[in-house]
Amino acid sequence: MKAFSERAFITQKQVILFKNLKLKILDDNAFMNLTKNSFKNNSALLGGGVIYFKNKLLAESPYETNIFTENTAYFANDFFTFPVRLQVTDNQSFYSWINKSTYSLSVTPAITETSLYFSVVDYYGQTIKSMNGRFFLFIYFIKSILAILLWNLNPFISLMYKIV
């Protein structure tokens, strides 16, 4: 997993919206498209009457276009177990990762640094595993176009997290 801060132009002194902080999941470029399929009378001895996800991060939800009929499982969901998702928590409040590549954080001008903690949670928000350490986020307030241009010449914050 690679966590890094995206270029963000912050020009307002009110409560601001810090956008485009991105978390990239290395080796998780897979996209699963399920469209217009029919799943009928399938059964799982344990979980997931149709689909069982192990460590699959929450992605787009293509399930609306499929037909699920009388599938059974011993536990979890009769249709499919839910993928896990990333959760990020900062110093101020609690956030969940909805889109796995984009995250929004609201901060006030007085705050110039915050820490983000990442964890993998299940569909219900229960932690499966937490990442050791934290990601420091430095927040810059830029008042002019020149400052933005100068700032662009600087390397932005970058941290690498290797996951296994």
């Binding site: 997993m1 999941i25 290395l26 080796d27 998780d28 470029n29 897979a30 996209f31 699963m32 498209n33 399920l34 469209t35 217009k36 399929n37 029919s38 799943f39 009928k40 009378n41 399938n42 059964s43 799982a44 001895l45 344990l46 979980g47 997931g48 009457g49 149709v50 689909i51 069982y52 996800f53 192990k54 460590n55 699959k56 991060l57 599938n71 499982a73 499919f80 177990t81 896990v84 990333l86 990442f118 964890s119 993998v120 499966i128 595993k129 937490s130 990442m131 050791n132 997290y161 996951i163 296994v164």
Partner: protein, 149 residues
């Protein structure tokens, strides 16, 4: 089958009553390059993993396409009664029927008709899954190992 630089195709074939004690009861595909399988039937094949097809490909640019395939009454002793995909290439499954496939049930198996181990992009459309039995995920077992810290 090894055709890493080739465009291969298998068309209008029937694979029935084949057995492998390891992987790929009917077809074992090792880095086959671009492969298209069209209008084939896989019936009553048996294997440890991937009773009909075992597919291993790590090249993101390569594509396996299954179109209008019937997978019926295939049995895996462990995983992938119809199809075992191991790798990160692209897989397209369309207009396929997966019926009456099953996994031998014991505590060691994960099961499922389609067993996807760290797959790349996969698209399953206009396909029918009916009367299949598995352990975890009767139709699809999707596993990734990369997203835990």
């Amino acid at each position: 089958m090894d055709g890493s630089s080739s465009n291969n195709s298998i068309e209008d074939c029937v694979f029935s009553n084949n057995t492998s004690t390891t992987a790929g009861g009917a077809i074992y595909l090792f880095k086959p390059g671009y492969l298209t399988i069209v209008r084939c039937t896989f019936y009553n094949n048996n294997a440890l993993d991937g009773s009909a097809i075992y597919y291993e490909e790590t090249d993101l640019l390569k594509t396996l396409t299954l179109n209008s395939i019937s997978f019926d009454q295939n049995v895996a002793w462990e995983n992938g009664a119809a199809l075992f995909i191991d790798g990160s290439s692209k897989t397209i499954i369309e207009y396929c029927n997966f019926t009456n496939n099953s996994i031998l049930q014991n505590d060691q198996n994960l099961g499922s008709v389609l067993f996807l181990n760290n797959p790349g992009n996969i698209s399953i459309t206009f396909s029918n899954f009916e009367n299949n039995e598995g352990i975890l995920g009767a139709c699809i077992y999707y596993s990734e190992t990369s997203n835990t810290f």
